[in-house]
Structure formats: C-alpha cells, structure tokens
C-alpha cells in the first residue's frame, strides 16, 4: 500500500507506485485492445517525418489544437473593461460558463458574466423573452452601471436582432429607458476572440458617441488635447495597463484608457468580493469623443473600432502590434510624444538605458538561437520584433487567427533584419501544424501559451510561456510586457528558460557537469 498519512502521495507519485503500474499494465493488456507496441512506435516515428508534415499541411477541413477562441470570449474581455459593467451574452448558457472558467483559469480571478439562457423553445420562437427577463434580472440583482450585450452562435444562427430586442425589453420595463445597454453581434463562426473584442468595443463607441441607437443626439466633437488608449485583447492587461498609466502620468498629459479591465481582474483578498472594480467610466467614454487621437496597441484587435473613430469622428488613429522591446517601445513613445507634444521624460530615458544594458549583459545567450513563435497576430509581431533585436532568429511564426495579409506584415518585419532571413510565416495554421514544423525543422526554443506544453512534451523543444491562455503558471499577467520595464520582464522570462535548459542539459555528474557552471 503506497499511500501514507504522514507523507501523502499526490497523483504524480501515487500512480507511479508498483501496485498501480501493474494494475494499469493489466488493464491495457486485457481490456483496451491497445495498439501493438511496434506499430505504435512506427507511427510515432512517422509523425516526425516530412512525409507526415506534408499530409498534415494538406488538411483542408480538420483543425487540431487551434490557438484561437471564438468572438464571444473577446466580447466579454472588452465588456468588463467598463465601470460597473456586466457582460450579458445572448444565447445558450453553457457558453458563458466556458468564458468565465477560461478567464478565471488565466487570471486566477472571478469573472462575472451572465447569459440569457436560451433553450430549445427560444431556438424556435427566438430569444426575445430571454432578453426581456434576463435584462430585468441582471439589472435588479447585480445593480450594474451598464450591461454590455453580445451574442453566441445560437442567437446569430436564428437571427435574433439585438437592437430591436433591447428596445422591446426597455419598453417592457426590464431596465430604464435611458439605461445604457450597448450591444454587438459577435458570431462565433466569424473571426476569433480578437474580432469579438473589436465588435463590442465598436458597439460601445457607437452607443455613447453615436446617439445610443437613435434614442439621443449624437455627440458633438469638440477636439481637445486628450488622447484615448486601447490595449486590445491582451493576456497581460493587468500589468500592461498599469504600466501604460505610469508612463503617461510621467509624461504628463490627459488620457483615457478605454476598456480598462486591469482592476476588475486584479482585486485584493481582503474580505470583500468586488464584482466590479475600476474600469472606464461612462463619463470618460463620452468625453473621449473630444480626444485628439486614439492609440491602439493591437491593430488586429481594433480594425473596425479604429475605422469608426477615424472616419466618423475624424480623430487621428494610430496603431501598434503589441510592441515589446527597445525599438518597438521607442516607436510607441515617439508617436505618443509627437501626438501630445510632450517630451519623453528623463526617467523613461533611464529605463530605456537599463533595458539596453540588460540586453547587452544577456543577449549572448539569445543571439543565434532559433525560435518558434505562435499566438495572436499582434503578439506574434511584437515578440518577433523583440527576438530579432536580441539577435535571436525567429524560424516559425504561426497564428491560427492571423490572415495572409497579416503574414505579409510579418514578412516585412523579417525582411528588415538579417536575423529574420530563415523564417517562415504560417497564417491560419494550428498547433498540430506547429508540431510538424518543430519535428522537421527544429528550433532551440518556442514561445506560446500553456497548450504549447504538449508540443514541448512531444518534440522536446523548450516552451517559453508568453501568450493566452496561461493556465499552468501563476501571476505572469500581473507583470507588464509593454514599456521598457515590460521589455525587461520579457527578457527575463526568456533568459530564465534558456538558463534552466542549459543547467538541465549539463547536470549529469562526471559526464556533463563540467559545464554546470555557477556563473553564466
């Protein structure tokens, strides 16, 4: 009997004990109809080949281990960024259980969101009654300042009209007539979570600036010196938005962070549960129309939103691609400085120097190393640029929700550096494609989300966890990756993994431990 009250064996030790090993071997032998070991090994080896890679890349219909989620997830991400706001997802209720779990597993925080709980009768007759009852219940129970409505694929397939439904619900008294219920259609079968973020954000802008679905006058824009800032669907939103505020405060200008979810996903444990915390206020949102410019940190998360702001409101719009590192931060700050007319303060100049100092100290460990990178389109661009400036060599850059047009942009970046010469870009591909890439054209390290650990297991390539979601490491989202300070965090995460790997490869006594150095 392996278990012991004094030293309790956890699953990882318990099931390796001889009793369990024997039991599981017998199960396999007698009941599982398992594949013969030689055949299994033959196929294992075959999946590592170029032949397999070609078959794998010839897939047209099947997606295996994608690195993207659906629109409604991004809808919720944007919705919780406003003061006192509950995202209300119109459609089947299971979806909302999934989004809440997904965010809680990444942020280690509560994630409040409601569903209109549509079932079979709603599939036949439409979900109007669910909207009417649902809005009334959410309003009365949770007393939100605003309810941000989006949809699941169910509501989209049956064609529910949010604008009409919300109007009817207001007529029926679910919420007061003047109560803010911005909405956006977010079909799961179009785009990905970053599209949903974009749609909901645009919906909220349209609501507050464009006359609240015809119920009030459109705002009149009186340009001022303020700027608006949008982070996009960002796994590091908590750390990043706080870092941006610190930088902007130092520079000393008026700004509004739009969809600021940095507080609601980082509340204290002090005896009180805060369903709402922080967030962009309605007053800020309305005043934001007067800003002279809007800056988006993630182009592909805000394509429609920026177009709306630019074409309908004549604001200057600039966008970046999740900027990480020295050059990307330089460009970002220069642009901010240009727009605001405020110089970059000496304190930030110092921080820049410190990041360059850190790179000078450590880049020898990154220089010439080959990297695979996968993730959302903007993050891939930001990370690739950083690896290039460290002297690393991006080799595979893959994005499930990156388009061929995105790939062209990545190629331009690669062309700008000699370190990008041997890299290929893979839009619309998944992690099973990445598996073939790592087997047939191995790299030293790869950067991705938690699900990359399966690739590390299969191919032996060490994973550096930067992306979304990160479920199996804690609290990294509380650190910024933007700004020079953020670049330093990114550098440290990459270096930590590189050093761990060198140690792991040199730890055998009397064989490799001459290189198990105390100083690196």
């Amino acid at each position: 009997m392996p278990q012991n009250a004094d030293y309790v064996l956890d699953h990882f030790d318990l099931f390796r004990q001889p009793e369990y090993r024997e039991m599981l071997a017998n199960k396999k032998k007698n009941f599982e109809n398992s594949v013969a070991e030689t055949e299994l090994q033959r196929v294992v080896e075959w999946t590592k080949t170029w032949e397999y890679r070609e078959k794998n890349f010839a897939r047209e219909a099947l997606t295996v281990n994608p690195a993207k989620a659906c629109q409604p997830l991004g809808a919720v991400f944007a919705g919780v960024g406003f003061e006192g706001t509950i995202p209300f997802v119109h459609g089947s209720q299971g979806c909302v259980a999934y989004y809440r779990s997904h965010f809680s597993r990444h942020f280690k925080e509560p994630s409040s969101c409601v569903s209109s709980s549509m079932t079979e009768d709603a599939a036949v007759f439409g979900g109007l009654n669910n909207m009417i009852d649902g809005l009334a219940n959410t309003y009365n129970l949770y007393k939100p300042r605003m309810i941000s409505v989006s949809t699941t694929c169910m509501a989209e397939v049956i064609g529910d009209d949010l604008n009409a439904f919300i109007k009817t619900a207001k007529d029926k008294g679910s919420v007061p007539m003047a109560y803010d219920v911005p909405f956006a259609h977010t079909p799961a079968f179009v785009g990905s979570h970053i599209t949903g973020y974009d749609n909901v954000l645009k919906g909220i802008f349209e609501h507050f600036w464009g006359g609240k679905s015809g119920t009030t006058e459109k705002l009149e824009r009186v340009p001022n010196e303020s700027i608006n800032f949008i982070g996009g669907f960002d796994p590091y939103t908590v750390g990043n938005l706080r870092e941006i505020k610190r930088i902007f405060d130092m520079m000393g200008f008026e700004y509004t962070i739009i969809a600021d979810n940095s507080d609601v996903w980082d509340t204290p444990t002090d005896g009180t549960f805060r369903m709402f915390d922080g967030g962009t206020t309605i007053e800020q949102m309305e005043a934001a129309v007067n800003a002279k410019a809007t800056i988006s940190m993630q182009e592909y998360c805000t394509e429609k939103t920026l177009k709306y702001i630019e074409t309908e409101w004549n604001q200057t719009c600039v966008y970046f691609n999740h900027p990480v590192g020295v050059k990307a931060t330089d460009e970002f700050l220069l642009k901010v400085s240009e727009i605001t007319g405020k110089p970059v303060p000496d304190q930030i100049r110092l921080e820049r120097g410190r990041l360059v100092d850190a790179l000078a100290d450590s880049s020898a460990h990154i220089h010439g190393k080959k990297f695979g990178i996968y993730g959302d389109p903007d993050l891939c661009l930001g990370l690739a640029a950083f690896i290039l400036e460290c002297g690393g060599e991006p080799t595979h850059i893959l994005s499930t929700n990156g388009t061929p047009k995105w790939a062209e942009k990545v190629q331009e970046l690669l062309d700008s550096s000699p370190f990008g010469a041997n890299c290929h870009v893979y839009p619309l591909r998944d992690l099973w494609h990445m598996r073939s890439l790592l087997f047939t054209e191995p790299v030293d390290f790869f950067i991705g989300n938690t699900y990359g650990k399966y690739l590390e297991r299969d191919t032996g390539t060490p994973l550096i966890r930067i992306g979304f979601p990160i479920f199996d490491r804690h609290h990294h989202h509380r650190y910024p990756v933007w700004g020079y300070q953020g670049g330093l965090n990114c550098l440290v995460w990459i270096l930590d993994r590189i050093f761990e790997e060198i140690d792991k490869n040199t730890i055998v006594p009397a064989y490799s431990d001459f290189s198990y150095d105390i100083i690196r």
Binding site: H11, L14, A61, K68, A97, K108, S117, C153, I158
Partner: protein, 486 residues
Amino acid sequence: MSLSAPETIEEIKQRNKELIEETLKAYPEKSKKNRAKHLNQFNTGAKDCSTKSNIKSVPGVMTIRGCAYAGSKGVVWGPIKDMIHISHGPVGCGQYSWAARRNYYIGTTGVDTFVTMQFTSDFQEKDIVFGGDKKLAKIMDEIMEIFPLNHGVTVQSECPIGLIGDDIEAVSKQKSKEYGGKTIVPVRCEGFRGVSQSLGHHIANDSIRDWVFDKMEGKPATFEQSAYDVAIIGDYNIGGDAWSSRILLEEMGLRVVAQWSGDGTIAELEATPKAKLNVLHCYRSMNYISRHMEEKYGVPWVEYNFFGPSKIAESLRTIASHFDDKIKEGAERVIEKYRALSDAVIEKYRPRLHGRKVMLFVGGLRPRHVIGAYEDLGMEVVGTGYEFGHNDDYQRTTHYVKDGTLIYDDVTGFEFEKFVEKIQPDLVGSGIKEKYVFQKMGVPFRQMHSWDYSGPYHGYDGFAIFARDMDMAINSPIWGLTKAPF
C-alpha cells in the same frame, strides 16, 4: 470561523427561512416566484429536499450551469481515450473545454490516444450558410489519414448543427461504411438542448446504446469472461479517481473489465454488456445506460460511494453482496488492509477539522457523495445543492444530509454569495467560477469538480489526499492575513 452559527435546530431553520426570504427580495416578481421553488432546507423525514430541479435556468442571473455539449463531450465521451471526438461547429466550445477536466489516461497522445487534444471543424460563415456535412465528411477522411491508429470517432454537435439542419447521422453512417465498419458516433448534444449538462449526459448515453451496443449485437465477448467481471460506470478518472477505485475492486477479487469513461476505450464500452455487474458511481450521468444494460442484457447495477472510509466500507460490502463468499471475504480483507491508513489519516486531520462547517455546490453525485468523507473528518455540511440534479438526486440526498441543511438548486451567483456571507462556513466546495469569489471574501475554498488540480479523492488512497487538501485550505496561514493591521 463560523461567526453567526445559531445554536438550536429551530434557530437554524428559522435563520435559513429568513435568509431565503431575504435573498429572494432582490428578484423581480416573476423570477422570485421561480427561484423560490429551488431554495429550501431539509426536514428530517421528508422524501426529498422540497426543491424543484432540472428545469430551465432563469435568464440573466448568473447560473453556474453548462450545456448539453459539456455533458456529452466534456463528461461522457471526451475521456474515451482511443477515439477522436470532434467538436463540430465553431471553435470556442472545444477550446474552452480542452483538457480542462483532468480525465487522466495512459497513452501516447496524438498517436494512439487523443483525450487532451482539441479537434474542431472550426465552422466559418459559409459552413453555416451552406451546411457542414461535406466538411464533416472531409474531416473524417483527414482523421483517418493523419491519425491512423484511432479506434473510432464521435461527432459532438455544437449549437449551430441542429439549427442549420445538418445530417450528421448520414455522414457518420456513410463514413463508417467506407472505413470498414469503424465506430463513428453522431451525438446530438447541441448546447441549447435541455436545461443543463444533464441532457447531454442522457443523449451521450443513448448514442452509446444506438451506435456502439447495437453494432455489437450477437457478437461474442472479445475478452476472457469470469464470474467476477464488473464495470466501473460513471467515474471520469479526474486526477486518477477511477484508478484509486479500481485497485480496491481488484484487491477484493473482482475483475474490472471496463472503465466508463475515465481512461476508457471503445473496447471497454463494447465489453460492458458482458459484465456480471455494473458498479455505478455517478448516477446522474450514467444511470440511463446502466438501466438499458439491465433491461436489454440483464446486467444488474448497483450504486456505490468511494468518498471517505465509512462510505467506502459500506460500498465494498454492498458490491460484494452481489457475489459469493470469496468476494465478500475479499471486501472484508480490503477494509481491514486499509484500516490503519484511514485511522492514521483521521487521527492526524480530524483534530484540525472537527466541527468545521462546509457549504457545497457541485454537479453529478458530489453534492451528496462527499458528505460522508467530511463527516469522517468530523466536519459538517450545512448547505448543498446541485448544478443539474433531478428529483431522484434530491431523494438520494436525504440519506446524507442533516435536519436543517440549506438546499439550493441551480444556485445563482447572487444567492450563493448571500448564503455564504450569512452562514459563514469554514469551507466552500464548488467550481472554478466560484473559487475566487469566496476566497476574496476570506472564505477557504476547494474546487470540487477538478479537485483543485489535486486528487484522486476516491478510494482509501484518495481519502488521504482529500483530508490533507481540506486541512490545507482551512488551516492555511494566509487566512490570517486578509485584514490589514492599519
């Protein structure tokens, strides 16, 4: 610490009554009436918990429930390790449920086993407009090419499939024929069906009946049969639960021919109608197929509970009662063998946990099944409820709960928060969506779906981990830090 613990049972019942009334006040009239039927308390002697269950959730209240897809793909089918389960529809459902349920298994993932992978048809607008059957057929071809060692495929329908009129049954039949009779199972578990995960369990059970069993009709057993063959039904091997259960059944002399469905295979599903007895842990999710096997193949079934030494011993004896003296002696031998371990666990942890109050809100069998394990440690469950239970679950609950236990069916975020605030339990056991809410409030918490990434909790080996985990949650020094000294 329990701050507001009333002394007598009358006081408790009065408090519960007032608490429910007070909580309901926040709802608009229609929803108040609805929710009132789901909230009550247990009165000794009652035949159930006097609550309504298994009816539609109220919109907009933050139900904790999931959907039929979650019940089929996430619970019943997903753990069958040598089959490929296609999340058929848009990308999200498969993405959010990808490897999240900790159904442990042994295998070479991606080659002969596939549980922790996400296979999806990733529906695009054109698939909605023109239908997804052709894409599904092509997906089957690609699976056979790229994952040649798979032992079958299931099609787990997401919401759009049933709405756009796809014929996944026809595609499945056609492809099964093309691939030499390979098991291909279409499952109509669209998320809008039913009111929770529960209907998904039922639909998945029925799909095993129709697409696995019926194919086996009249074929001889593929394994050597014995008089002691049993199948474990309704154990999803979360953190290895089915393994720490199986070992006990084997030690008492039984032969486990199948695990449903944690670490299970299609061969094991096919073998089950030849078993002598089905032992059923999660009644809610697999009673349907157990009843079917009893009616059609004459395999009796018996419920058991492997949480905590009291219930384990009781269950081993109940299971043994279906067999001869050799097995009955075996049960006694197993109980005796593990007595020292259980006693040591209780001796170590009971003093640290005695008298502590627990509130639960879980799915399946756990809102009742784990009560015995807490009681073995001297703890008391003062409130419990089911995410997707039916009345037969609440009837079974009467065997476990004490007079005055607060009962909440399909609890809403609002209600659960109010109840915990008032009752101030020493521990809440629920899911990931609830975990951080209560921890922020300063209430110790354990996830009772995923075992908070620990486990197993089943069996004697699991009980040691369970006791250690509950102690770790309640007696963590961090709970003394939540109030700033300034």
